[in-house]
């Protein structure tokens, strides 16, 4: 079986469309975040979250009502959603922090929630099976650490690809990765997934994955640049993308399958994580094909310098004048 055998799509011709599409998505994401906000998980917002196990199927509305009536710190800001697999009779309740929430007071709020649930006999018996309480200073620290984790990994990837390839490639890889992060954030906002630690982890994984994809294409570009010195950079890039297209799509497909398995079967805790992975894999593949290479050509043009491959020794290049003919095998 063979997908994309000897394809010859002109990917670079579509680069402007791709750039436009990416900007539309990213800007829509920015607008969406600016108006509706990016919901923050409890790790970032601080506050108290509990998972309550009921002995009969609870209705989210009833739980909300019980909190409104009995929760001593005011239940109108509480977020109530059903939790876990259907039929697991669990509800997740999140409330904003009350006061300083430090020291001994930390558990006060979760106690108040439990009490509020117990005061509503129609709900049946409720037990708290999990709870998470996050003080106000934790979020800031996480945001700072998360920012540095992203910034440093991008810098290191830039350095590594610049070292292994050339600067324009490195810029292409990093811009593509940045693009993937922004698009992923936009989709998280569209679907209103909570920003949690797991989601951050998934975005960082996407960072690695996306670079991975880009490097495979760049690697082929580098190889082709050596053997096709007469062809323009654009032609070589197009050819390389086409040659690796089968691999790009197959790998994305395989990884996507596992991410979907996680999304469907991985349970509530991993839902946001696997959603992020799914979006990241798709945009990572798209950006490797349409964004990374395009950036390389933009960059090279902006530098007003023809690519290194074209300028080097014409004597060697004349050997492989025939262009598209199969490359000579090199002993390995």
């Amino acid at each position: 079986m063979r997908l994309f055998k000897n394809t010859n799509y002109n990917f670079l011709r579509w680069r402007w469309h791709a750039v436009a599409l990416s900007w539309v998505v990213i800007l829509a994401g920015v607008v969406y975040i600016a108006t509706k906000g990016l919901p923050m998980g409890i790790e970032f917002s601080g506050g108290t979250g509990v998972v309550a196990q009921f002995d009969r199927e609870p209705s989210v509305e009833d739980v909300r009502g019980a909190l409104n009536r009995h929760y001593q710190f005011g239940g109108q800001d509480a977020i109530v959603q059903s939790y876990g697999e259907p039929g697991s009779r669990q509800v997740m309740i999140r409330v904003p922090q009350v006061g300083a929430e430090q020291g001994a007071d930390l558990a006060k709020v979760s106690g108040a929630i439990e009490e509020a649930l117990h005061q509503e006999p129609s709900l049946g018996n409720a037990t708290i099976v999990g709870r998470q309480i996050v003080g106000p200073s934790v979020g800031e620290e996480l945001t700072r650490k998360g920012f540095w984790a992203f910034a440093l990994s991008l810098v290191f990837i830039l350095a590594y690809t610049a070292f292994r390839f050339q600067l324009s490639f490195a810029v292409g890889a990093v811009v593509a990765t940045l693009h993937d992060i922004l698009v992923t954030l936009a989709f998280l906002a569209f679907f209103q997934y909570d920003m949690t630690l797991n989601v951050i982890a998934a975005i960082l994984t996407v960072t690695g994955y996306s670079t991975n994809d880009t490097i495979v294409i760049f690697d082929r570009v580098r190889e082709n640049l050596r053997s096709r010195r007469r062809e323009s950079m654009n032609d070589v890039i197009n050819l390389s993308i086409n040659q690796t297209l089968g691999r790009t799509v197959l790998t994305a497909g395989a990884t996507l399958l596992t991410a979907i398995a996680l999304y469907v079967f991985g349970g509530e805790v991993l839902r946001g994580f696997s959603f992020t992975m799914i979006v990241g894999i798709i945009t990572g593949t798209y950006s490797s094909v349409f964004v990374a290479a395009a950036i390389v050509t933009f960059w090279n043009r902006a530098q007003k310098r023809p690519s290194a491959a074209v300028t080097t020794a014409p004597t060697e290049a004349s050997v492989q004048k025939q262009g598209r003919k199969p490359r000579r095998a090199r002993a390995s």
Partner: protein, 519 residues
């Protein structure tokens, strides 16, 4: 060639065999994280300012003492903040310089200004005291958790003054928290006066100005007590600031009963403290002595006789007694703690997570198997064998390193399958290309593997960079994920290049001429 293949096969089987040995049986060898096993996760901050303040207070008292003894007067000597203090209106400047050089200037920088001097702690010393405080708090908490009898707890520094405490299988959060965070500073001080119904009434008696060596402390809140027994302290007391002995000088603490059969903590003092205590009690017979815990007067008893090395704290409940013994045995915390984060995972939630994690893994593996078999036919079997080896090595290494499996760790496991076949896809696609160019099967396979190797190295290194920063960023579960990814990537480099190649050679090795490859 054939001999070479045999060695490759032996090495592969050895690595896989060792890995299986390392993780079998899985439920015994692989540690489960808190999110899968259930338990309590706490992040707390050591208030290092407490320790700095204590240091500054001690220095101020020492300086006050020296100056008074030297006959130097001053209008003001007080703390500015935890790290600095100020002295004003000094009568004899050179005497002050001598005293402060002896008492303070090894630790504090002296700056003159506006009718006095400000002393500020040297930054390197402040840092040093801070670090020592955190380390001391860490070891104290460790001892307390061990006394609590928790299996496989995690107590670790988490950047700055934050500590991470994970107690698997613990469900009584409130008790665990109070045990960990009670500072347990035990002191024996003379009681000057009391009890008073309120702090104000205590101060009023002294016209609102206490002598500098006395202070007002609250008693225990609960009332009660039996006549004749040492009174469980209620209300407020005026006590001396100086402590005869402290909790650090205890030799032992044990649960026991007082003469009225109520729970009491029996303790004995270390030798030199006992001597001091003996002298002190014999010279103060008839005066009330307060046992003070964490700045609360626990009980007040009149000194009847010379007490040498033992005593008891009574008027407490049984649970308080049990907790007090644990905290006294483990020693005092050098600074108070505040909780930043608390998470409790019930065992049932953990079980749910394990179930869904295992289901997702199996479904993911199944999908990959079907996908590879359809697309690569028999060569797909090769990729699947390599993938299974990858997963086995991953589990083996994780068990061997003694590393904890978390729910995001399972996600990393599942993703490793997807990312893992990537290497095989890359190699197989290259082999197909080489075949298309009309090369012989064996040459195509060799070319496929060798040409792709550098690409694989590049992709793996870039993924490892991201994983490394992920590890740096995260705690607990996220670290589990980052570690699984990292080990999976390394194992994958081995299986996709070495194992997969060996399998090809094994299948094709015997045949002289290979006409076609099922790929």
């Amino acid at each position: 060639m054939l001999k070479n293949t045999r060695w490759r096969l032996v090495l592969t089987l050895a690595v896989v065999g060792l890995s299986i040995w390392a993780f079998y049986p899985l439920d015994k060898k692989l540690n489960l994280g808190l999110d899968l096993k259930g338990g309590v996760h706490l992040v707390l901050r050591v208030q290092t300012d407490d320790a700095l303040r204590a240091e500054t207070e001690t220095t101020v008292e020492r300086l006050r003492d020296s100056l008074t003894r030297a006959g130097v007067t001053f209008s003001k000597l007080e703390l500015v903040d935890a790290k600095s203090f100020r002295i004003e209106g000094v009568s004899d400047d050179s005497a002050l310089r001598t005293a402060s050089a002896a008492d303070a200037e090894s630790v504090y920088d002296r700056v003159s200004g506006a009718g006095g001097y400000t002393f500020t702690m040297k930054p390197n010393i402040a840092v040093q005291i801070g670090t020592e405080t955190v380390t001391q708090a860490l070891t104290t908490i460790e001892r307390r958790v061990n006394e609590l009898g928790v299996a496989e707890p995690v107590i670790a520094r988490q950047g700055g003054a934050n500590l991470l405490v994970e107690l698997p299988g613990v469900s009584d959060v409130a008790r665990a928290k109070s045990l960990i965070s009670s500072t347990a500073v035990l002191q024996f001080r003379l009681v000057v006066d009391g009890p008073f119904p309120s702090q104000e009434s205590a101060l009023e008696k002294y016209n609102k100005v206490l002598p500098p060596d006395e202070e007002v402390l609250p008693g225990r809140s609960e009332a009660g007590g039996t006549a004749g027994a040492p009174t469980p302290a209620t209300g407020f007391y005026v006590v001396k600031k100086a402590s005869v002995v402290t909790g650090n000088e205890l030799r032992s603490a044990a649960q026991g009963l007082d003469q009225f059969n109520r729970p009491a903590v029996q303790f004995t003092l270390k030798q030199d403290a006992a001597q001091r205590f003996g002298t002190f009690t014999s010279t103060n017979i008839g005066k009330p002595l307060g046992i003070i815990l964490d700045k609360r007067v626990m009980s007040v008893a009149t000194i009847q006789d010379r007490i040498v090395d033992n005593g008891q704290i009574n008027g407490i409940t049984r649970e308080e007694m049990q907790n007090l013994v644990i905290t006294l045995k483990s020693g005092a915390l050098p600074a108070s703690l505040t909780y930043l984060e608390e998470q409790t995972i019930g065992p049932s939630l953990g079980e749910d997570s394990i179930r869904s994690g295992v289901t997702a893994s199996l479904v993911g593996l199944g999908l990959i198997v079907v996908f590879m078999l359809i697309y690569y036919k028999l060569s797909g079997v090769n990729a699947i064998v390599a993938l299974v080896c990858n997963l086995i090595i991953l589990l083996g290494l994780m068990a061997y390193v003694g590393f904890t499996m978390t729910l995001p760790g399972i996600a990393g496991f599942v993703l490793t399958m997807g990312i893992g076949v990537d290497s095989n896809v890359l190699i197989f696609e290259r082999i197909k290309e080489e075949l298309d160019l009309g090369r012989a099967v064996r040459a195509s396979i060799n070319a496929g593997f060798s040409r792709v190797f550098l690409t694989l190295l590049d992709t793996h290194i870039s993924a490892l960079i991201a994983a490394a920063f992920l590890f740096q960023f995260g705690t607990g579960p996220i670290r589990g994920f980052a570690l699984t990814l990292t080990i999976g990537l390394i194992a994958n480099l081995f299986t996709s290049t070495f194992v997969s190649k060996t399998l090809f050679e094994l299948v094709l090795g015997r045949r002289q001429q290979v006409a076609a490859l099922s790929i």
